[in-house]
Amino acid sequence: MPPPAPVDAPPARARRVVAAARWPIVAAVAGFLAVFYLWPVASILWRGRSWSTITDVLGSASSWRIIWFTLWQALASTALTVMVGLPVAHVIARYRFRGRALLRAAITVPFVLPTVVVAAAFLSLSDRLGLDEDPVRLPGTAWAILVAHVFFNVAVVVRTVGGYWSQLDDTPEAAARTLGAGRIRTFVHVTAPRLRPALLSTAAIVFLFSFTSFGVVLILGGLRRVTVETEIWRYATQRTDFETAATLGLVQLSVVVLMLVANSQLQERLAVTERTRPPAEVERPVVRPGERGLLAGAIGIVAVLVGLPLSVLVEASLATDGGYGLDFYRALGEQDQRIPLLPVSGWQAVANSLTWGLLATGIATVVGTAAGVMAASRRRLMGRVTDIAFLLPLGTSAVLVGFGMLIALDDAPLDFRTRWWIVPVAQAVVGVPFVMRTVSTALRSIDTRLREAAATLGAPPPVVWREIDLPIASRAVVVGAAFAFAVAVGEFGATAFLARPQRPTVPTAIFRLLGRPGDLAFGQAMALSVILVLVTGAAVLVIEKLRVAVAGEL
């Protein structure tokens, strides 16, 4: 029997080597965040600090109307999204049926759809249903915005609450049933309280997205329905009143921070350890008539909410004067010399989007993975700081990020505003939190005993990382990268500030086309939207494929 290996290298030295590699990475990640997020946003706050502007803005009744509407529509969107999403989440989490993966993928598509496309889809929907003329005029109303927000965010509820739900041990529910509680009472008294942590964090995310929603409100709200977010854009770009825009940014950021703090405190108060079980042990086939009804309802919700706008979008992109055809797609490649709708061809915009999107994905993946590792670090302080620092970009509106970059990165030594790469960097800032979240969640979910088992079998710390952490994290990295890609390709808020008119991306091109009169412009906008749906749909396929692989093995 071999004796224990002699201690040939003092462990302190090995630790020093690892530490030496760690700090440059931490510095690089922190530097990225500081230059491309913190400094731009801080610059806005600095610009908006003028007391006279603040009193001007807060003293006017119209700003309060805008703030009130922004809050109101965000709360209403959140409540509606949860109401629509919960039944679907329940069905997908608890029942086993053919086509479940398809249903989950279908509900996810809207979430990665660019907001511009969502808006375009609802415009074409109201066009086809005849809802764009009086007396029933949908575009320009709060309803249009709410419905589009539900469409966009229902995936968040289904995926996060559903994911949590599917792993929840169902014994407490069974116990409640044997103690005489009916299905409804069991849900109200047992399931709902257990879902509360997931529901709260989900509601917070949906609220944030709705509160800072840009493309949807800008296009569907028109001139009548404006929010803080669209007003920042209008003041900054159309009235070039940077002070008022910055003050509105300050207002928006305050609400977001207040909400995040309140939510994290609530989360901490409600934190409980739940017994989890592999989803396969908890889910059941659909048997009883009530369950069939529930399943049919969930499918119906998804079909109407997701299928209808998307199929109308495709239909509108094909419906030309002379029947159905690919005219609008063909038109993307041609430049009308007399009245150019776009400065470049539509296909050039697609190429721009893909190039920048891939670059942004690369940046977001590298930075986000490093940040994810830092967030999952056993050093509590570093983990917490990274967690919060990279959640901020998720909570900050893209418009603020783009606007901030526009005004902050304008002087030496940070004179980056006019560089071509600023667009993918901005898109990466928006995409980084997604990569960080998926990676850190995967790393945190690793049972420490796996690492311990590897160590007792002779694996030194770097090897433990390579053998245990890396294989599990690498799938998460790909999933995060796919999310970042979808986000970058469809990014509108920040890109609208930074992309030059001569080099539009697909979303900015769509926005521009929607602002032009005529069927050709509308048709081309629809065609570009369909192309964007296909590109982001491919990203969703990657996510779904790997999600199943990860869950199937864990």
């Binding site: 201690v7 005993r449 007792t456 199937g552």
Partner: protein, 341 residues
Amino acid sequence: MSSEVGLEVRDVTVRYGSLTAVDQASIDVDPGAIVALLGPSGCGKSTLLRAIAGLEPLAGGSISWMGSDLTGVPVHRRHVGLMFQDHALFPHRNVADYVAFGLRMEGRPRAARRRRVEELLDLFGLGELGSRTIGTLSGGQAQRVALARALAPEPSLLLLDEPLGSLDRALRDRLVHEIREAIRELGITALHVTHDHDEAVTVADALALMRDGRIHRVGPVAALLDDPGDARTAEALGIDTVWRPPQRPDGTLVTPFGAVSPAVGGGAGPYLLLRPRSVQLADDGQAATVDRCRYRGGVWLVTCELVDHRLAIVAAHHERLGEGTAVRVRADLTQATRLEP
């Protein structure tokens, strides 16, 4: 130099903040011996095991193996096998890969690895399962794979942390036997943590009894079962036929079956251990009423209340008796053992 001692644990203390999980525990394990660390849940036995593996830092004391100090040696250099409760199998590998992991860490060539893996899979009857993934294994198979993985790099010391905790009775009995056989065959020194006294007694040569972070008794299985010495140890070993009869000033214990003077049982403690096998139901005994019956180890243990003495006694019997049945009981006091508190 005490080359006889394999594992030497001296006054080991482990603290979690202000909580002392292990309090100056000491234990010696001879090379090739199997020792069971037995105690109720939460007594610190798993923590002590983790400290020996190097997974918990020591707040005091020392651990050495074959005379060399392990205290400063990091986990992966200790060459100690650890089998976890709930297996801790890596989710992203197949069975052959799990088992080969430690061999790969040693840098053994591929061919040698494959040979050793096959050898171990055969030893545990897992021959055809090499390419299966964790999700497809049954509880018993997963347990065997975990043991094979721990044994693959030929550790000189094997630590088992409640390895059978999650299995059903019949499977446990079979696996306890398999584990003992495998360890014996490979000549490994082993420390087996469990809260189940039957499992401990079956698997081990010697027992270390732990309570509240301390080891309060160590000894060979046979000797401890024969004479637990004190009531606490008897309880830990699952021996529950202990009496506390009236005691005379001279130390003699007075029972309905006669007196036990201090010399007879070996000790002078106030407790009396009377095993069911030395208590019989017989016509010429004391009058008693059956209180309850339980089935254990192939016989019925009948708890009776002695009619005139308000004292319960347990007798072994071949059949179940109804509650309240009148019986007569005879006990052989020469088989009784006196215990300290």
